[in-house]
Symmetry: none
Subunit: 153 residues, 2 copies
DNA sequence: TTCACTGCAAATGCTTTGCAGCGCC
DNA sequence: GGCGCTGCAAAGCATTTGCAGTGAA
């Protein structure tokens, strides 16, 4: 609690993500980006690193962590936590801000948008005088498939 | 990712949790249970352990982890992951569902209700065929006091 | 040439586990 | 009296970070 919030990325939420923040295009960055495209599903840093090794591309583990965090900070990928508490990333299908509907059994994730919730969060924060606001919204449940399995049990 | 539930506990999912699985009533177990009642909200094991220490009850950190996992295995508490990937627990039967507006600087928390959000979450889940739904909503920002401090800086 | 990006390895911090003693049943 | 539960300390792991060399612009 004391080491607060920062929602995954160990970065100070400097309110403005610096627009002119250029990023050098390196072999490693391209490799990670390409891997995310190919995987097209949530992967942990460890998994992505293993994938790159098998593919023959060499990117050190530390660098994998750094690139993934960087991408997440820039909003280019989605960050979530799997059941083991590891951070998992996936290329954003939707570029805008959105939330997730997660199956607590199989891990399936559905992206959902919630303009109403965004507005609500902004209003509540304003009413209480809060600034530099961010929010997280996650819905957990059993997806249709897992619901059936449970019922059959 | 592939392995559901057990969330971190290196425990074999023995399919049937053995009905007669008796649990000895120890001072520590009672202390943890009482603490969960008093906190009545999601706490990480570390937080709960700190809380117990401040309260004067002595329960080792390792034991806190064991008891919390045990309770979770028996379905007596809810388990979730916070933004930092730590496991957070909460007593199941919650009276009065609500969310929080948190200051990321001083930790101040304001409880807020959001009937509109509850309804939205339920609807979204239903649309996607999800059952046994729960959700978490947290808003992070700088409280009025901390906003001023930042501005003055 | 400059300075961000990398790789390596050590460090960090949460969580788990082995082992011996204690206390609930 | 037996055996599960505790505490302590060491081990395990994912993730982060310091530092010096490399390469993109």
């Amino acid at each position: 609690m004391s080491q607060g919030a920062t929602a995954g990325s160990g970065r100070v939420p400097a309110s403005a993500p610096a627009p002119g923040r250029e990023q050098r295009v390196t072999k490693q960055r391209l490799a990670v980006s390409a891997a995310l495209d190919d995987l097209a599903d949530f992967v942990s840093t460890q998994e992505l690193h293993r994938f790159l090794q098998e593919r023959g591309t060499t990117v050190s583990l530390a660098t994998s962590y750094r690139i993934l965090q960087s991408l997440a900070d820039d909003g280019l990928v989605d960050v979530l936590r799997n059941a083991d508490g590891e951070a998992v990333y996936r290329r954003c299908a939707v570029t805008g801000h959105h939330h997730h509907l997660l199956c607590r059994n199989c891990g399936k994730a559905v992206e959902v948008e919630a303009p109403a919730v965004e507005a609500w969060a902004a209003r509540i924060a304003k009413e209480h005088g809060f600034s530099a606001v961010e929010h997280t919204v996650e819905i957990f449940g059993l997806c249709p498939d897992c619901t059936q399995l449970q019922a059959g049990h």
